[in-house]
């Protein structure tokens, strides 16, 4: 993977935190990143040329009035005032290459001196075994701080560790081996149908978690359960959680009115055009 710095821009090496999405149900991680990039008014500093990413292009997603700045599949933005580098991913990964893609991102993070990677991902509500809606939408997390995935700070924030994380479980172990470079994915012993317990380690956030951890970075995955549909609120939930973790306050985002969140311009048509009223 090659990182191409945008002409006239210079990455800020003081941005020691990397915030990025994992592909997940409802595109929640990516929607949350849209919200973060837009609201922090982060500046695009470059793009990634990765052979494992499917191509796509579009017009500027953020606005306020898109002027034709080309949007690419994987882009990096710096929010210097918040010391965060934000990565947005717009297209899927080539089938069977997710771990290699995650390794490439981890290599980039390590090479650019990042200390902490925060991964935003949703989980399929249909897989949730312990539904507790008493306190609203619950945030789950997985941290590299301890071997069982717990982190005191995340616990203080009222979040719950992902109980399904078990580093001794076969797929989590296999991911860890792949991330360490001690196995080839061609030797995948789990080509047959995955079992229930294999679901969580099969998700893209798990690949990112394992690869960043293998590079010695601190990594925190922020997770929320959702069903596919209108996932805007889920995106807000994850973005707010990311801000809490990083000690950011949206109301302090420079220049934004109201609660500080700036809706990306591209969200005007995120679920397609309005219905054709002429049929009535």
């Amino acid at each position: 993977m090659e990182f191409v710095v945008e002409k006239g821009k210079k990455p800020n090496h003081q941005c020691s935190t990397l915030l990025l999405p994992a592909l997940s149900i409802g595109n929640v991680g990516q929607l949350a990143m849209d919200l973060m990039v837009s609201s922090t008014r982060a500046e695009r500093i470059g793009f990634f040329d990765d052979p494992f990413l499917l191509p796509c292009v579009g017009n500027d997603a953020y606005g306020p009035q898109p002027q034709g700045q080309l949007a690419l599949p994987l882009e990096a933005y710096d929010s210097s005032s918040n010391a965060v580098t934000l990565v947005q991913q717009r297209s899927p990964v080539v089938k069977g290459k997710m771990v290699e893609f995650a390794k490439n991102l981890a290599d980039f993070a390590a090479a650019t001196g990042k200390k902490h990677a925060v991964v935003l991902s949703s989980l399929d509500f249909g897989r949730c075994r312990n539904i507790d809606m008493s306190s609203g939408l619950q945030t789950y997390y997985l941290s590299s701080t301890t071997s069982d995935g717990t982190d005191d700070y995340c616990e203080q924030l009222g979040w719950k560790r992902l109980q399904e994380y078990n580093p001794t479980q076969r797929c989590w172990k296999y991911l860890s081996t792949l991330a360490d470079g001690n196995a080839l994915q061609d030797d995948n012993p789990f080509e047959d149908e995955l079992e229930e317990e294999d679901y969580y380690p099969s998700l893209p956030f798990a690949a990112l978690f394992s690869c960043f951890k293998a590079k010695g970075l601190k990594v925190t995955c922020l997770l929320c359960y959702c069903s596919e549909g209108d996932n805007i609120q889920d995106a807000f939930h994850l973005a707010e959680a990311a801000c809490k973790l990083l000690g950011l306050s949206p109301s302090n985002f420079h220049g934004n009115e109201g609660n500080g969140w700036l809706i990306p311009y591209s969200w005007k048509t995120v679920y397609g055009p309005p219905p054709d009223m002429s049929i009535f």
């Binding site: 149900i25 796509c56 579009g58 690419l72 080539v94 069977g96 998700l203 596919e228 055009p273």
Partner: protein
């Protein structure tokens, strides 16, 4: 009645394999390559303009162009030659490379008459731009992809949008290749080979323009392609052709089958 907690999840906007770290990769394919009738090793072609025709209307227009010379072809090992003609034909599954015979400029035209899988698009884009062909400027002609377009698409309307690389946009207003064409609306995307090509241009700091037209085929779209080329890209280009029969030809014929080769 199934248990909602344990039943298989409903279809997602993602394919299941998109969200599965352990999905086996597709069997590897041999790399595509370029062949030229007059190859010059270590001497890349340096056209001032590279035009890549992907959409059916643009392929039709360039097929009719008489002032071009076939100089080579992109070979994709996964695309069989069976059914192709000796002389270039619109019905061929091919990716031919032509020079445009004009004393005033050096242009190369690539007619992409076969479907290139998304997974192969990046490697094809690398072959076409930046290694054996190093263009000064690139124009890609494709169609609006209805599955990725978030606006309304009426079969009665004909329109074009563009996307440009930074270096194309940074030029003076007069220098933009497709003046007067609106930018592709934010929120919609273009994927596939066209995206890979424009992305490659952006990465390599090459002036590049992607023009997507609607509808995907038909006389009106062909006329629009002609108009754009003659007005903006290659003024004075002789594109006289018979518009009859345009309506019936489309690149991805629904009855296309290797059974009948």
């Amino acid at each position: 009645m199934e248990d909602v907690l344990t039943e298989i999840p409903p279809p997602s906007r993602f394919f299941q394999e998109d969200l599965n770290n352990f999905a086996p990769p597709s069997p590897p394919l041999p790399s595509p390559f370029l062949v030229f009738s007059n190859p010059k090793p270590n001497e890349p072609l340096r056209p001032s303009l590279l035009i890549v025709a992907i959409s059916s209307p643009s392929l039709y227009v360039f097929h009719q162009l008489s002032s071009k010379t076939l100089i080579g072809s992109l070979i994709l090992p996964e695309i069989p030659f069976s059914g192709n003609s000796i002389e270039p034909s619109l019905g061929d599954k091919s990716c031919n490379i032509y020079t445009h015979n004009d004393a005033h400029d050096s242009s190369i035209i690539i007619s992409v008459q076969c479907s290139i899988a998304a997974e192969r698009s990046n490697i094809v884009a690398k072959l076409l731009i930046g290694e054996q062909i190093i263009p000064g400027r690139v124009l890609i002609l494709d169609s609006v992809q209805s599955q990725s377009f978030r606006g309304k698409l009426s079969p009665d309307e004909t329109f074009a949008f563009k996307l440009e690389t930074s270096s194309e946009r940074e030029g003076l207003d007069d220098s933009s290749l497709l003046k007067g064409i609106n930018y592709f609306p934010s929120g919609s995307v273009v994927d596939g080979l066209a995206a890979a090509l424009l992305g490659r241009c952006q990465m390599r700091n090459i002036k590049g323009t992607l023009c997507v037209l609607w509808p995907e085929f038909g006389g009106a779209a062909v006329s629009l392609v002609k108009s754009l080329l003659q007005r903006n890209v290659l003024p004075g280009l002789d594109l006289s052709m018979n518009a009859d029969g345009v309506i019936s030809w489309t690149k991805n014929h629904p009855f296309d089958s290797e059974l009948y080769t």
